[in-house]
């Protein structure tokens, strides 16, 4: 299990290769990559703030939950903070499982929990406008839905 919080960019290829090399009995590997999107066409950058004393522990807790709930062989979470420009990779997760459905569900679950339980805040900065990304009411609903999914 790997959890990393960092300002620097990471190399998705290297991370996935390292991850895959460690999981010998997995038949299924799922990755998710989050990328800074520029919907308005005017975004200068996204500033991601986090709560250093809490972040790593929160990510580890979420990752452990996902591994246990879906019987994953392994999981990986990398999340960046600081200033990121459109097209840059914000974060990634990877899950490895014997079977396909568990790998998918594990990655989806990780993302739902990272969204609402990992202490990051995103501010979108454009030339004439600055705005904090708001949580959606559907984010909490997504977490509640997982409690109805039986354990693997």
């Amino acid at each position: 299990m790997v959890t990393r919080v960092q300002e620097a960019a990471f190399d998705f290829s290297v991370e996935v290769n390292n991850f895959q090399a460690k999981v010998k009995s997995a038949g299924a590997l799922v990755t998710f990559t989050g990328i800074v999107r520029d919907d308005s066409g005017g975004l200068d950058y996204m500033h991601i703030e986090h709560y250093p004393a809490m972040t790593e522990a929160a990510l580890q807790k979420i990752e452990t939950q996902a591994i246990n709930k879906f019987g994953l062989e392994d999981a990986l979470v990398i999340h960046r903070y600081g200033i990121l420009t459109p097209g840059e990779t914000i974060m990634m997760v990877a899950t490895a499982a014997r079977h396909r459905k568990d790998a998918f569900a594990g990655a989806d679950y990780l993302m739902d929990y990272l969204k609402s339980r990992a202490p990051f805040w995103k501010k979108e900065v454009s030339k004439d406008h600055t705005e904090w990304v708001q949580a959606k009411s559907t984010d909490e609903a997504a977490l509640a839905a997982w409690s109805r999914v039986p354990k693997a």
């Binding site: 522990a57 990272l114 202490p119 990051f120 805040w121």
Partner: protein
């Protein structure tokens, strides 16, 4: 007792700084919020709608009713937007 308070995102922007140490007798998060609300305009703006704010006590998510103890770290922030 002494508390270490941290503010993040727009809560930090409204309060005007990211951390401070306060001397208080607040027994719960709610008591502390009442004190902060009365302090200045920035705090009043930050804590005007407590339904829009989350709290963590010693890095664990808490509630308005969560008890405080000496030297603990209290963090206020909007709902998280990771991922």
């Amino acid at each position: 007792m002494k508390l270490n308070i941290l503010y993040f995102a727009w809560v930090r922007e409204r309060v005007g700084h990211s951390r401070e140490t306060v001397e208080t007798d607040a027994a719960t998060v709610a008591d502390l919020v009442v004190e902060l609300l009365q302090r200045d305009e920035g705090c009043a703006a930050a804590f005007a709608d407590m339904s829009a704010i989350c709290v963590a006590v010693d890095q664990e998510l808490g509630e308005l009713t969560t008890h405080l103890k000496d030297s603990c770290e209290v963090a206020f922030f909007p709902p998280m937007t990771g991922g």
